[in-house]
Symmetry: C2
């Protein structure tokens, strides 16, 4: 097995992911768990990290680079937001060391750990923040290194980012994923969607129709939400179609709204997303007439963390021969 050079950790609100990487960024081992910031705040960030490092056989000296909510004020060590405009260099310059960590065991070695900061947009009327997505952006920098680009990063809190010449110029957040969750579980619409809500498929007619309608409405979902309930009562709408409708409505509204805020360059959007959500957004963006350049979100965050480790000199000097 190749020697590990660094551990890369994406530590979100409700999830923990760790990759053991070699000096070229190749994945040697991976860990995933639900021990996000909410769990780790109670159990301790250090012990959870060391447990996962031990599980993949990482040596005590292996450095760790972390992004996400571990750097929030309620997280492990606060990595204060870097203010826009910001490039990858600015994000790295804001990385915060975690003091005195290590596995203990009588050793006097302490592990080198850095937490990457989030980004803040401090305009008086458009305040916004991100934590974790900035590292995904660092991972897809080659896609927007020159010229102007708009990047869509869907999720619980979807981010739309405007970049110019590799620098993050501005961004906005939509609560799309969270709205789907609370509306499907907590609102009157739960009676329409039922208990077993599966992700919609992008070619489901109910998804396409709702998304197309929402794109035409310019982001206004107000009069459309209750219509799902009424269609259950009056038109026997099936639960799976109700879920597809709600999904299409919310994603279509997000794209319509973002399209009004960001002048989409030649209609091309860089989509950073994984799995079924990535497939749905790609379909919705195409319905909106956008060309889509898609990057996998998991690959992006891992690459961003590895880029940070490289800049920190943790992956060793790149020898001439290794470039051959």
């Amino acid at each position: 097995m190749t020697k590990p050079a660094v551990a890369a950790v994406d530590w979100g609100t409700s999830s923990f992911r760790l990759w053991l990487l070699d000096a070229a960024g190749a994945v040697l081992a991976e860990r995933r768990s639900g021990e996000g910031m909410l769990t780790a705040g109670a159990e301790g960030f250090g012990p959870i990290l060391e447990k996962h490092l031990a599980a993949v056989g990482a040596p005590d000296s292996l450095p760790v680079v972390v992004c996400g909510m571990a750097g929030a004020r309620q997280g492990w060590i606060e990595a204060p937001y870097v203010t826009l405009p910001a490039g990858l260099d600015g994000i790295l310059a804001g990385a915060v060391p975690v003091p005195g960590q290590g596995s203990g065991q009588g050793s006097d070695r302490t592990r080198k750990i850095r937490i990457l900061p989030g980004l803040a947009q401090r305009n008086a009327n458009e305040p916004d923040v991100m934590r974790g997505e900035e590292t995904q952006l660092a991972g897809v920098l080659p896609l927007f290194a020159s010229g102007r680009h708009v990047i869509c990063m869907p999720g619980t809190h979807s981010k739309w980012v405007e970049a110019e010449g590799g620098v993050i110029a501005g961004f906005r957040t939509w609560l799309t994923g969270e709205l789907f969750s609370v509306l499907s579980k907590q609102s009157i619409l739960r009676h329409s969607l039922g208990d077993n809500v599966a992700p919609a498929l992008p070619d489901t007619p109910a998804f396409v129709a709702a998304c197309t309608d929402a794109l035409a409405q310019g982001g206004d979902i107000g009069p459309s939400l209750f219509r799902i309930r009424a269609a259950t009562l009056l038109q026997d709408l099936r639960p799976a179609d109700a879920a597809a409708k709600l999904s299409g409505l919310l994603i279509g509204a997000e794209i319509a709204s973002a399209r009004q805020l960001f002048d989409l360059p030649a209609g091309e959007v860089i989509l950073v997303a994984s799995g079924p959500l990535g497939t749905l957004y790609a379909a919705a963006l195409r319905l909106a007439g956008c060309a889509v350049l898609q990057a996998d979100a998991d690959d992006a965050v891992r690459t961003g963390l590895f880029e940070a480790a490289k800049r920190l000199g943790w992956t060793g000097p790149v020898s001439e021969s290794s470039l051959s």
Copy 2:
């Protein structure tokens, strides 16, 4: 004490209200409780009604007229929706008797009870339903008996109604109250609003600013919701102001959205609402440039129930002398 002529009951999803009325519609007694459809479905509608009737000393022979969710499929006795366009006569024609009710006690008398139906808009693309609001509309019929009018009925599920010559021509529903509830309690915004969310006051600057912004955005709340969270993190937004912002944003978006769907006649809106919510909507409608003609929602539903009782002949013949 004047002799009671009828009991009027507004039986919603989570609330029960009963008024004992004399032959002129004057209130002799009132009962309010949280025994809405959800509770009554388990405990039984009949026993709950009889308990409240006994508490106000209503005789076994007193007839009862009911509106609201008691007439839903999951309610007491289903009063099927009346399809638009519909006037007060159509609503009354759809009233459904509840068979074999009464206090029992060895008496062979059964109480006369009628449940008023809701309204359904059965357009293929704009299905919508209401239960309870149709009775409020019957109670304010004199306000829209001639000409075209738009009526705003705010609440958990706000209804906007278009009426022409006293006939309900169409309506749409916004989830405004429910969105405020789930967002303030279940979403990331709960960290901004805190645990003690009080109704906003209409002259709170944060309410006015958010409402004005939302009115200008044409109903798109997408990029504005998370801004409340970001303002807490970056600008020390106070919880009370966060609640006022969310309230202003949702109400402003509803009005902006409704303004696009309904051609507001000379800008005048009939507002049927009570209490702090009525005050907020009146202020928001004025911010939108509308003239507001306000009616109290509690008075409206009671009047509507009494009108139904009159048409059923339950308030006795109106003698010449009683008109003097």
